[in-house]
Amino acid sequence: MAVPATSDKSARLAALLARIALGDQSAFGEFYEVTSPHLYGVALRILRDPPAAEEILQEAYVNVWHHAGSYEVAKSQPLTWLTSIVRNRCLDQLRRRELDTVTLTSDDDDAPAYDLPSDAMTPAEMLLAGAEARSVRDCVDALEGGPKQAIALAFYQGLSHSELAAHLQQPLGTVKSWVRRALERLKSCLDGAGYVRNE
């Protein structure tokens, strides 16, 4: 199914990707200029480690250069596609570190204390600012304070359940059900508002 409403920016990025697939270096340079601040912000907030974030971006762009042709316009918008790749790599790295250092089987109770970077916006504010489309903002707005904050911290800063529990000073079980219920509500609200762009 085609993407119904592709923004100008998405159309431009998709066109650049098509040129990159043909080996067009100036298209690649432009694509980098447009997308890298966004992707670096995403990676740095999750990893809190500039060299590690740069490394993830380096791999991502090397992949874009080699595999731009495999990007499927019909399946997702370019920035969504790339953001997902970068977020997933960052989260994989974070979660792998936990596997390396933690012997318990799943998310556990000893939450390491993180210094959260002082962004101009708090994660909860980003959540609202990010909700550009009216339907998304309404859906985010409808969440209660605790669950909203939990979702924001997990999404923007990659906090695990146990880290969320420590940060929000709530029992682990409470945080887990906040997150689960908030995701369920977001889904029914967004899908009900006809938000999901294509499936």
Binding site: G29, Y32, A53, R87, D119, A120, A131, H161
Partner: protein
């Protein structure tokens, strides 16, 4: 576990949402990612969540990465210099060289003065490359004599090299991928042998670069690590 059976769809949706949000614990995360590679239902469920949540990611404040990142990417991919469109590879940009201009000029001037006006087209005149980092402070100075094949690299500054790492020197030919000149010492004086006499080896090579690689140098023949220093090839003949 067959996640795509209808009675599992609710469970799958919960897993996919936690995967995209990032709260799915390590092992479950790896497992789901593995399944998604072959199972289209799982992959589509994850993608739907990515699309639901992506507007949230897209409006978070952007942070511009260090210019070094683009240089490393361009170097790794061996990108060719392009016309004037877009940013182009880093070594073709005026602004890039401007940062090095002062350092290069100072060193070049000092060298020129010592040599008391080098005469053009005289064999035996040196070629000098001042390699500097983004702060434009010279880190290494490479010199060689015309017609000679030995490039002498002298460390004059720069960051200490971490244990288990090596500095590797590269030629950056116009319109071709970087070519290794070998590993150089991080302090003191090192020598590398060019594949051909200066004029031949460095013809069409406007710049050299030094990257940080694993001990012994990049195993692939292309720079793998970050580019620390670059320098323009200055000819004194």
């Amino acid at each position: 576990m067959n996640l795509s059976r209808p009675d599992r769809l609710l469970r799958l949706d919960a897993l996919a949402s936690a995967y995209v949000l990032g709260t799915l614990p390590g092992r479950a995360r790896q497992r789901l990612a593995r399944i998604a590679q072959t199972d289209t239902v799982v992959a589509a469920t994850i993608r739907a969540w990515e699309q639901r949540l992506s507007p949230l990611a897209e409006a978070a404040p952007p942070i511009t990465p260090s210019p070094r990142l683009w240089r490393v990417i361009a170097l790794r991919l061996g990108l060719e210099p392009v016309r004037h469109s877009a940013p182009g590879p880093w070594w073709t940009r005026i602004g890039f060289w401007r940062g090095f201009a002062l350092a290069s000029f100072t060193a070049a001037l000092a060298l020129a003065v010592t040599m008391l006006m080098p005469k053009p087209e005289v064999p035996g005149q040196p070629l000098v490359v001042v390699l500097a980092g983004p702060d434009a402070k010279p880190a290494l100075i490479a010199t060689l004599l015309r017609g000679d094949r030995t490039l002498t690299v002298k460390a004059v500054g720069g960051e200490p090299v971490p244990p288990g790492k090596s500095l590797e020197l590269w030629m950056l030919p116009d319109g071709a991928a970087p070519r290794s000149l070998g590993v150089i010492p991080a302090s003191g004086v090192g020598r590398v042998t060019l594949p051909a006499p200066t004029d031949v080896a460095l013809a069409g090579v406007p710049a050299l670069a030094v990257s940080l690689e694993q001990a012994g140098g990049s195993p692939t023949g292309a720079p793998q690590g970050p580019v620390l220093y670059t320098g323009k090839v200055e000819r004194f003949y």
